[in-house]
């Protein structure tokens, strides 16, 4: 049961150590995509924490996330296979999609979404992988706030 506690607090730690390098590599892809948004007049502040796991082609998953009103948030999703097309969207506590800005990158295995939190509370991040690849993909989500 202790593992459940650790799992809630940081998904990446729930994985067996043997898989950690693969997960870290995917996290690096996501972090690298985030870099361009961490400067300028209103820079985002990137968190070190992340969510990770595995997703089947054609499937979607939800991540629960506590957001705070007046903050802007930016989420980056990455999978290792450059052919794996991913998408990320945000929903409020009632299941309504939150308006925001989607970003596309050089290859479709990275996607990001930025939005402002209209209310403080629990939100749901929906991540999905199209069936442009055959094999399940390791995924990582990192996020930043400002």
């Amino acid at each position: 049961m202790a593992a459940a506690f650790g799992g809630w607090l940081c998904a990446q730690e729930a994985a067996p150590p043997a898989e950690a390098p693969v997960l870290d590599e995917v996290k690096l892809i996501a972090q690298r995509a985030a870099l361009a948004h961490l400067g300028g007049e209103k820079p985002f502040i990137l968190r070190e924490s992340s969510w990770s796991g595995e997703i089947e082609p054609g499937m979607a998953k939800l991540i629960q996330v506590q957001l705070f009103k007046r903050n802007d948030y930016h989420f980056w999703l990455a999978v290792p296979d450059r052919r794996g097309e991913v998408d990320v969207a945000l929903y409020d506590g009632k299941g309504e999609r939150v308006e925001g800005t989607r970003f596309q990158y050089e290859s479709p295995n990275i996607a990001s979404f930025a939005a402002s939190a209209e209310e403080t509370g629990l939100y749901y991040l929906r991540i999905s992988l199209l069936d442009t690849v055959e094999k399940p993909q390791r995924w990582t989500v990192v996020y930043a706030y400002r």
């Binding site: 202790a2 809630w8 940081c10 070190e48 924490s49 998953k61 999609r97 989607r102 629990l122």
Partner: protein, 264 residues
């Protein structure tokens, strides 16, 4: 990373149409939804950032210098570690150089007691150095890295219960500071930052599943009671606010628990 490489990487970044339209609405009660069984605890600065948008707050009053007395109870040390990192975030917000330097040294001492000093030393030193130069951006980054490095290291060592307690301590410290600031400078708009019922519910549920060996000591009984109490307090009313009375109660409850963790 070199600038040219970075530019090349994000060249294609743009707001654009996307291949698969996400549905406009999802039924959160759909039993077929696959919800990731994990989450990330917000760090105090994330919350303080929102509050500061309503006007400058006096964070310096929340910077405390407490004597940390360690005992053989590693669970308590893990909670103290979380609390001290949280104090570090508060001191960064208050831009208190001396406090951040002191906290950087305490972080290393606690990490040593938890057996993860080697992984943390570089970050702790970076915190102390950056504080000396007043580089708050680096301090903030290194504090978050310290926290995450300890969590990763503990998970690697299969110390899962300690992972949870570090994060619980961090959340508690940040919530105490937030409630104290709101108590002094109450606003309806700011009060909604304490609207975290689902987070408290999850923390409470996870804490209750910890093995008994990780909950030895009188303070651990108080944690369950306090989380129960906070779950009922930390939710907005119909007007979208948390009343001043509730904010005061949250402040008292969290402060009492923090005091109990520091006491031997």
């Amino acid at each position: 990373m070199k600038r040219s490489l970075l530019s090349a990487f994000v060249l294609a970044a743009a707001t654009a149409a996307y291949a698969q339209e996400a549905p406009a609405r999802i039924d959160l009660n759909d039993p077929n939804l696959m919800v990731v069984d994990s989450s990330v605890i917000p760090i105090p600065l994330e919350i303080f950032s929102s509050l500061d948008k309503l006007g400058t707050q006096d964070w310096s009053r929340q910077v405390e210098s407490r004597e940390i007395r360690l005992d053989a109870n590693r669970s308590r040390t893990a909670m103290l570690f979380g609390l001290v990192v949280s104090d570090g975030f508060i001191a960064v917000q208050a831009q208190d150089k001396e406090a951040v330097r002191r906290i950087g040294r305490e972080v290393l001492r606690l990490a040593t007691s938890l057996g993860v000093a080697n992984s943390v030393e570089q970050h702790a030193n970076a915190i102390v150095n950056a504080a000396g130069q007043g580089d708050w951006s680096i301090c903030r980054k290194e504090l978050d890295k310290t926290r995450q490095t300890v969590l990763n290291k503990m998970a690697e060592l299969r110390d899962d219960e300690l992972v949870g307690l570090v994060s619980l301590g961090g959340w508690l410290g940040g919530t105490q500071a937030l409630a104290a600031v709101l108590k002094q400078n109450y606003s309806v708009e700011g009060s909604d930052l304490l609207n975290q019922p689902e987070l408290v519910k999850q923390l409470k549920s996870d804490f209750s599943t910890l093995p008994d060996r990780a909950k030895r000591g009188k303070v651990f009984g108080q944690i369950s009671q306090t989380l129960d109490h906070l779950e009922s307090l930390m939710r907005t009313d119909a007007s979208g606010a948390i009343s001043k009375g509730k904010v005061i109660e949250i402040s008292l409850s969290t402060a009492n628990l923090v005091d109990a963790i520091y006491e031997i």
